[in-house]
Amino acid sequence: MADPIIQMKNIEKHFGSVIALAGVSVDVFPGECHCLLGDNGAGKSTFIKTMSGVHKPTAGEIVFEGKPLDFGDPRDAIAAGIATVHQHLGMIPLMSVARNFFMGNEPVKKFGPFKAFDHEYANKVAMAEMKQMGINLRGPDQAVGTLSGGERQTVAIARAVHFGAKVLILDEPTSALGVRQTANVLATIDKVRKQGIAVVFITHNVRHAMAVGDRFTVLNRGQTLGTAARGEITPEALQDLMAGGQEMAQLEGSLGGTV
């Protein structure tokens, strides 16, 4: 395998007296889907916010493409190629797919001194990119509000990929979706990975992780419980790690192993 595109080394993050991250280390390679699992409050969100430049780590080092990184704000991270698709998206329902797709990065066409939004180009690209992801729009002017949750995730992912993301962080993209839509999003993740982009897939659903993940890192109470490659670990073992072992085993026993 090539060198990791991003290395998080011993990251610590304190909020006042609360230690959210107590020394977390994760490597992510290009073209892999690295699943980050953990229960609520495990520190997943803090970790990816640190990775995407929202938070500065209290201690530890981030190495991106072999060089130490020090992001001032999320825009630096975006410019460097680290894109985040948030749980709450960042799509504007009232705006068309094409307008959303190019929000903040609008293509312009010059008319003498005037610079106009190049609708023709925007529409063409948005339609093509969406088709590539397997979504057929009625038209580029279709409002995002009319799309399903899975389709919106796909628009957001396609947008990040189109604008040159090298590392794509997906923050619980499947948590609010139905079975069919989840499958669509997982298929999208697979396509993105095959383009050589490093995907960091945050979830607390082991089955979703097992479906597309290459490697799995489990976070618990601000610490890594280790990273395992595909085939090295069973879903049950992952589940146990997430919940903190023993207690969960007992709980599961009482529930007949269905969780």
Binding site: P74, R75, I78, T84, H86, H88, L89, G90, M91, I92, P93, L94, M95, R99, F102, M103, G104, N105, E106, V108, K115, A116, F117, H119, G134, I135, N136, R138, A143, G145, T146, L147, S148, A187
Partner: protein
């Protein structure tokens, strides 16, 4: 994946006509047609559709359009400006005090007025984006502050609240005609001569047509509507306006300079109010402390009739212009039709309600809300 798999059989095919119909302007278009049909039936021979009558409601509509364009873009960017009416009074009073009382050359007076008023607009915007307070409250404060100054300054300086003599002070100025002149006079004179337009029957304007040109007010209105429409739909900045009003956080995440967009829109709204005020004082020759009262609501009503969403992120400048046209035609048309003038508000309320209900319905189709 094949196409078939991704086509949701539950989504009905929508016809092209329906597609063409569902747009923010639809409410305004339907309303405009309805209003004209209505007055054509009830007030056709009342003089409403002769040259003078057309000019009358056109000028009133043009006034509404000027402030509606600013209010529309600002509302789409997610904010309100309640200080528009006070700004109109304040700007007019500034022209009077600098131009008449202090004798500053009119072109300089106009420039100073624009700078100060647009500055107030920027201040509105700056306070809103920095404090995160609702613009409703911030501009409500500005409404009172500006109205207070508009009464205080002339009273302190001149001991009166109406200052006249602006027309005389603007005589021969190079910039003033941009706001106060009329264009196309020879055409109208010719139309008067061949009898298309009535002419004055007595007085020192004997033989001149009763409508002698298109006031710059209307040129400004049309110019601002075209500019606003282009900016919103055809420019990169327009996408930012939609984004800022649709979801400011999402827009920020995507790198849209939301704060700058909002501040600029507050400045543009102030600019529109100042254009309104300067055109008004140039036409009427005096500035009064009560000018522009309640105009902010009239602007907002026109914008809402035109299909914009009060919560931002959705709307159309053309729609707002049609809303202003409806407003102006109804306001003046009721007089032509001889309706008791106190019923104007009833009509306005009914139209507003009908427009909002229609627009909500259209928007649901567009966004798939249920």
């Amino acid at each position: 994946m094949s196409d078939v798999q991704n086509t949701d059989e539950r989504i009905k095919e929508t016809s092209r006509l329906r597609q063409a119909l569902i747009r923010p302007e639809l409410g305004g278009m339907v309303g405009t047609v309805a209003v004209f049909v209505f007055f054509a039936l009830f007030a056709f021979d009342s003089g409403m559709f002769n040259a003078q009558g057309v000019m009358n409601w056109s000028v009133v509509s043009a006034q509404f359009m000027i402030i509606a364009v600013g209010a529309c873009l600002l509302m789409i960017a997610g904010e309100f400006d309640l200080s528009v009416g006070s700004m109109i009074g304040f700007a007019g009073m500034m022209v009077a005090i600098f131009g008449v009382t202090f004798g500053v050359p009119m072109w300089l007076t106009i420039i100073i007025t624009f700078v100060v008023c647009v500055g107030f607009g920027a201040l509105n915007g700056y306070i809103v984006v920095k404090t995160g307070l609702p613009s409703f409250i911030v501009t409500l404060a500005t409404l009172f502050i500006l109205r207070g100054f508009t009464i205080f300054f002339p009273q302190t300086i001149e001991r009166k609240t109406i200052i006249g003599g602006i027309r005389e002070a603007a005589e021969g100025d190079w910039l003033a005609p941009l706001f106060g002149a009329k264009i196309g006079k020879p055409v109208f004179q010719w139309l008067g001569d061949i009898g298309v337009i009535d002419t004055f029957q007595r007085g020192n304007r004997l033989g001149e047509p009763v409508v002698d040109g298109i006031p710059m007010l209307m040129v400004w209105a049309i110019g601002l509507v075209i500019f606003g429409h282009w900016l919103l739909t055809r420019s990169r900045f327009g996408n930012w306006i939609f984004a800022a009003g649709g979801d400011a956080d999402a827009a920020r995440n995507s790198g849209v300079p939301v704060n700058a967009v909002k501040i600029k829109m507050f400045m543009f709204t102030a600019f529109c109010a100042t254009v309104f005020a300067v055109c008004q004082v140039m036409e009427f020759g005096s500035a009064g402390a009560d000018r522009g009262l309640l105009k902010e609501f009239e602007a907002i009503i026109a914008v809402v009739i035109g299909g914009a969403l009060l919560t931002g992120g959705y709307g159309s400048v053309i729609g707002a212009a049609l809303g202003a046209l409806i407003f102006g035609v109804v306001q003046q048309g009721l007089f032509f039709a001889g309706v008791e003038s106190s019923l104007f508000r009833v009509f306005l309320g009914v139209i507003l309600l009908a427009a909002v209900i229609l627009n909500t319905y259209i928007r649901r189709i567009i966004t798939g809300e249920r």
